[in-house]
């Protein structure tokens, strides 16, 4: 495994070459980590469920039939289609107080939750990277930008989200933006501190003396080295966004209530939680498992991609 074939004459006695620890690639290490495996598999499964929702024994999740309200899991009832015709349907997870099929709503809810989680993470990371790079590299911008970020951070995130969603018209877009905004300062801080520390790395200084232009250093040397911590941060944002969406729905300021989201299903079902726990139970399980999976995945990614680990060769 030695890299240098024509070594210096004395090198065969040197013990140094023996110390080269051949590190498996990132992908190998990821594939080997139990948390990444479990979290990743769960996420994959949920994604498949979200995509295949229409063929998993579901009906239109907004359809209802008051005659079939409050059915227990497994019961059979009727549901009225948009054409006004009644069809028989088995309610695998029961029905809610409108007579909507919880099974359908939960599965379609997976879509919404994943979209909210992933979109929030992407949005927050994207904006955070732009702000963080700017603050880390443009000295004049650093101070004012970071003060604004401090200000945003000083406002508890959920309050910003609640206020924004309540003041805008609640829609998928506004909910995503409202949940993402409070996360931006954290990403910005992370990116900025990474930029500041990577900027001091000898390999960046070497690039400077090699005459590499600033922008190229930024995107060629600095940004790629922030990717790993950003992925980790992104997963945590994703998890908390999914949870926040549910909390917003619970408080009554979330996505439109006819939209099938786990938060909405639980908010709708909580009134009769003690009587018909399935209303809260099924979406609750899906929510907890999803957030758990994302968090576990995040922990695994952190273990594998953590910059401290990466520095050791």
């Amino acid at each position: 495994m030695h890299a240098d074939a024509p070594a210096a004459p004395a090198a065969d006695l040197s013990t140094e070459a023996a110390n080269v620890y051949v590190r498996p690639t990132v992908w190998q290490r990821l594939a080997r980590h139990w948390a990444v495996r479990i979290g990743g598999a769960a996420m994959l499964l949920l994604t498949l469920v979200a995509l295949a929702a229409p063929v998993l024994g579901t009906v239109d999740p907004t359809l209802f039939d008051p005659g079939s309200r409050d059915l227990l899991p497994g019961a059979t009832g009727e549901i009225t289609t948009l054409e006004g015709e009644s069809v028989k349907h088995t309610f695998l997870m029961g029905s809610d107080s409108f007579g909507r099929d919880i099974h359908s709503r939960v599965l379609y809810g997976t879509r919404v939750s994943l979209i909210v989680g992933i979109a929030c993470a992407l949005l927050a990371v994207l904006l955070g990277v732009v702000a963080g790079l700017s603050a880390g590299y443009l000295r004049w911008l650093d101070m004012p930008l970071m003060r604004v970020m401090d200000g945003v951070m000083a406002i508890p995130g959920i309050l910003i989200a609640i206020a924004l969603v309540a003041l805008w018209k609640a829609s998928l877009l506004t909910v995503i933006v409202a949940i993402a905004i409070p996360e931006i300062p954290r990403v910005t801080r992370l990116v900025r501190s990474l930029v500041l520390s990577i900027r001091e790395e000898p390999y960046v200084e070497a690039a400077v003396s090699l005459g590499t232009p600033t922008l190229k250093i930024m995107f060629g040397h600095i940004l790629p080295n922030t990717v790993a911590p950003l992925i980790v941060q992104g997963t945590y944002i994703c998890a908390s966004a999914i949870l926040t969406e549910a909390i917003l729905s619970f408080l009554g300021v979330g996505l439109p209530t006819d939209m099938p989201t786990w938060g909405n299903i639980m908010a709708e079902g909580r009134v009769q939680f003690q009587q018909f726990p399935h209303n809260v139970f099924f979406p609750g399980i899906f929510l907890a498992v999803t957030v758990l999976a994302v968090n576990i995945l995040g922990d695994g990614l952190r273990d594998v991609l953590d910059p401290k680990m990466a520095k050791r060769a």
Binding site: A3, A10, A11, E16, A17, V20, Y203, A206, S209
Partner: protein, 537 residues
């Protein structure tokens, strides 16, 4: 009376996935009362593993699988955790490499020593305080009361190591394990600490197991020497005998790799064209302001020197002397506060960033830490061609040059598409040199470029630097804290202390007859001066 420490046939397993099955195997070693045994080896040889095993401080993954470690006849490997705790500091003590981090930063030094007494004696608070005060005096620290009340960060490196020694010896143990205790210290401080260890060891008749990689230190302090290579003991003999007549070829190689302190190069060449001239170079860091008093730190002050083609100038100094600041000013990684740096006929200290760009290629730099000098996400090929591409060379041509440079630095040209982590430290340093050479600079700066390397690798890289300079007729600026290294490669040296150049001249003259007081102290402190290394027999 038997040996204080007797290690018999010790084998310690490495966890799976390591580079070998056992960290140490079949090691036999004894330390007699009042004797200093040096355990020498390069990084990864397993010397610290042995030290920790003796203290019973090995991490769980490193399990002793065979042999015994007898402390005055009692087997450490089979002692209960409680018994081990009773033995520590009482019968055996340990001091560490980094006095910086080995002391608890949030606890007063006095309390940290006191903790030992509180643990192992039944003394009252006042008596303990008196004992602590006495031991602090014994390690020659001034103003014991103040030392006791100080936090570690308020002390210098040497003072901290003295506190560590005081802590280790307060219970008068029979065995002291010193794990590279002076490696992190400046050479003058190192000399004082070595002297202190010697003094205390003689006063108390302590047996010392002294771990080091530095043959200079070995020459200073050892009674007997054990050489460790990849976990096995290759040779163990009395110091004089071993240094003069190494038996094992590994020992010979190691000793042969130690740079000699006698200057090798003649200097001269005063007629070659001037490449770099620094005049009155200064760098001042200002801090504070608003509310706190403004402070100005003069990292470099009025530094002047010149380098001609084909010559090497060494800047020598201890940490904080400002030598790296000078290097970075010349590479314009930082902007000097005052003075001029002219590269040929071009002034580079004050030009704008835009005007600087074409000049940058003429000065290249190689850094100390081979692990951080290469972007972990780029292949070495990309690293080497980055410079040429920046200056408009075509990719194919740049790659061709990279291949030939790989040969120049004695690496396999086919390894260009590998990533840095697939190379050892020495190999990476070669890659960094290749990267610097890719721009065909006039001046190559080596900022402590061999300091992080093991001695055998260091010798190879030093040879490489010499070869390159000769072949390419380069001017070199060689920054180092190691006088031996400077003696090997420099035509001229500038000795720096507290930001100023205190002595500047041809290497032979400076080394032969140092004029400045500081230079003299520096030379006096260089370990192992009495021995001549570097001439493989």
């Amino acid at each position: 009376m038997g040996a204080v420490l007797e290690i018999r046939n010790l084998a310690i397993a490495l966890p799976r996935g390591g580079d070998r099955a056992q960290a140490v195997a079949g090691v036999d070693l004894t330390v007699e009362r009042g004797e200093i045994v040096c355990l020498v080896g390069e990084s990864g040889s397993g010397k610290s593993v042995i030290a920790h095993a003796v203290m019973g401080l090995s991490p769980k993954e490193l399990k002793a699988v065979a042999g015994e470690i007898l402390l005055e006849g009692e087997d450490i490997l089979r002692a209960s955790p409680e018994r081990l705790r009773e033995l520590r500091c009482v019968r055996m003590s340990m001091i560490f490499q980094e006095p910086m981090t080995a002391l608890n930063p949030v606890m007063r030094c006095g309390d940290q020593i006191d903790e030992v007494l509180a643990m192992h004696t039944a003394l009252g608070a006042a008596e303990r305080r008196e004992r602590v005060r006495r031991v602090i005096e014994e390690v020659h620290l001034p103003d014991p009361e103040r030392m006791m009340a100080s936090y570690p960060h308020q002390l210098s490196g040497g003072q901290r190591q003295r506190i560590m020694i005081a802590m280790a010896l307060i219970m008068n143990p029979v065995l002291l394990i010193a794990d590279e205790p002076t490696t992190a210290l400046d050479v003058t401080t190192q000399a004082q600490i070595l002297k202190l260890i010697r003094e205390l060891q003689q006063n108390h008749g302590t047996g010392v197991l002294f771990i080091t990689h530095d043959f200079g230190v070995v020459a200073e302090i050892a009674d007997r020497v054990a050489v460790l290579r990849l976990g096995t003991l290759v040779e163990m003999r009395a110091k004089a005998d071993l240094l003069a007549r190494p038996q094992h070829e590994y020992t010979r190689m190691l000793i042969g790799s130690v740079p000699g302190i006698e200057p090798k190069r003649q200097g001269g060449g005063e007629t070659a064209p001037l490449v770099l001239k620094a005049a009155g170079l200064s760098k001042v860091y200002r801090s504070g302001g608003f509310l706190s008093a403004r402070r100005a730190v003069h990292a470099a002050e009025d530094v002047s020197f010149e380098i001609r083609r084909g010559q090497t100038l060494g800047i020598v100094g201890e940490s904080g002397s400002g030598k790296s600041t000078v290097a970075r000013c010349i590479a314009r990684l930082i902007d000097p506060s005052a003075g001029s740096v002219s590269l040929g006929s071009d002034e580079i200290a004050t030009v704008s960033a835009r005007a600087l760009r074409p000049l940058r290629r003429r000065v290249q730099i190689v850094f100390q830490d081979p692990y951080r000098s290469l972007n972990p996400r780029r292949t070495v090929g990309e690293a080497i061609i980055e410079g040429p591409l920046n200056y408009g060379m075509g990719r194919a041509q740049a790659l061709a040059r990279a291949r030939s440079l790989m040969e120049t630095v004695r690496l396999d040209p086919d390894a260009l598409d590998r990533y840095p982590h697939q190379f050892s430290g020495g190999q990476r340093q070669r890659i960094c040199i290749a990267r610097a050479l890719a721009l065909e600079p006039e001046l190559l700066i080596a900022d402590e470029a061999v300091s992080a390397l093991d001695v055998s690798v260091q010798a190879q890289v030093l040879r490489l630097f010499d070869e390159i300079r000769e072949r390419m007729n380069l001017a070199m600026l060689f920054i180092t804290h190691d006088l031996r290294v400077a003696a090997q490669v420099c035509d001229h040296v500038a000795v720096m202390s507290r930001g100023r150049v205190v002595e500047y001249g041809a290497t032979r003259e400076v080394f032969g007859a140092p004029r400045h007081e500081y230079t003299r102290a520096l030379f006096a402190a260089a370990p192992g001066r009495g021995y001549t290394f570097g001439s493989p027999s």
